[in-house]
Amino acid sequence: MTEMTVLNPVHRALGAKMVDFGGWDMPISYGSQIEEHHAVRRDAGMFDVSHMTVVDLRGVRAREFLRQLLANSVDKLKVSGKALYTCMLNPAGGVIDDLIVYFLDESHFRLVVNAATRDTDLAWIRQHAALFGVQVEHHPELAMIAVQGPNARSKASSLWPAELAARALALKPFSATREGALFIARTGYTGEDGFEITLPGTDATALWRRLRGAGVQPCGLGARDTLRLEAGMNLYGQDMDASTTPFEAGLAWTVSLDEGRDFIGRAVLERQQREGAPRQMIGLVLDEKGVLRHGQSVHTAQGAGEILSGTFAPTLGKAVAFARVPAGDTGTVSVDIRGRQLAVRVVKYPFVRNGQACAGVSLAIAAAC
């Protein structure tokens, strides 16, 4: 059955093109996907991300539970409101989901997990939480609006009372503040500054309208995908899944092999760290005309691989991609596009940060990231 967010009628009234996204009826764009992309890079755009799953964990052993559940270390979270990006692994080290965990207080943490994996995630979390006496509360009544872009924070905070606006503007990256059921986090999935705002679904339409009134451009999942790929951020189900470890998905930076913390999947990650993971994820740029796409085969000196996420990158005016290929020196790399072998460059990603191409991504001089 198709699920809808509370903002669904608003999208339809705006004339959005709707698509099925993991069982949700969501806007892919409201007009030009490329213009929506540029609005976020240059000014401010907003996304309905109410399909994301918000889960509150309550119980005195919540931190202890998360030490076991997550591959990153919740012990890094010391100040209330602080957030951490992490994977949740199966015993084989495969990624069940990637998520953000917020520390609110010692008996209250909040997780935001993906929509497409909601049922699997909830079952997995509940199964392990029970052993720690931790309550798992799913909050489908909450909506979420991501406001992103260089002017996003000032435009959004202009709608709030002075005290709250000041508190929101004072947030450090990857931290959140609360005002009743309103939850404002300085996080995002675009490579730009901004907020992800969680609030009761009953308040979402009013906030959406006020943001529009403040000059924030509605943006669909199409722009969200090109923005996050330019920003070098993984998409669950496309760049990694339960058969991929974080080391094979460019997510080693999210794994904490801190001493004495026996998290699920750790043994496999330790072995891969010792012996090396068999596969690696690399960033690719195509300088010729053409578009890199999911499923295209990639040839390297170490053997064949494939494109995971690939797209035309509007900020760069050329195609970029993530590919999973055998470990080791890739040598010269080419991609098969409709039977033609096109040369691609292997580059460090992110491809774009804060509106600018990163060093090495464009052939021209670019900003360091």
């Binding site: 093109k17 892919i28 764009s29 030009s32 996907q33 490329i34 199409g222 090109t226 005309k289 053409g290 578009v291 796409r293 797209t311 035309f312 509007p314 409709r338």
Partner: protein, 132 residues
């Protein structure tokens, strides 16, 4: 949806064909096709002089979202290609039935045009697709 020009004929796969006074058949993709694809970012053109068979893929249009083959509505020889699309593929989004043409064929079998859908039949096809 905007009006479909009366001098066009269509393939079910959303290509249009226009028989011109000099006997050439100009080919593009329909307004509906460009709207479904969204922002176009790349067009792979056929070569001038290529022999093409009715219904065969001879160009590719790519949007941010997807790549789509363009099938020729008539057999013949490609005599012109719209080189301007290499730098401005978005012309197809802006003017699918005019400046956004993709290639022109000197038809080897003028009767090919008769087998194509007229604007009313094409509009009906779009209505049926919408109903699904």
């Amino acid at each position: 949806m905007s009006e479909i020009p009366g001098d066009l004929k269509f393939l079910k796969s959303h290509e249009w064909a226009r028989l011109e006074d000099d006997g050439l058949v100009r080919v593009g993709i329909s307004e509906h096709a460009q709207s479904q694809l969204g922002d176009l970012v790349y067009v792979e053109l056929p070569g001038v002089g290529d022999m093409v068979q009715i219904g065969s893929a001879c160009a590719v249009v790519e949007s941010v979202k997807a790549a789509s083959d363009v099938y020729t509505p008539v057999s013949g020889t490609v005599v012109e290609v719209n080189d301007a699309l290499s730098d401005k593929p978005e012309t197809i989004n802006e003017d699918a039935y005019g400046e956004g043409w993709i290639f022109a064929v000197k038809p080897s079998n003028p009767e090919d045009m008769e087998a194509l859908l007229d604007p009313d039949a094409y509009a009906e096809l779009l209505d049926e697709e919408d109903a699904h």
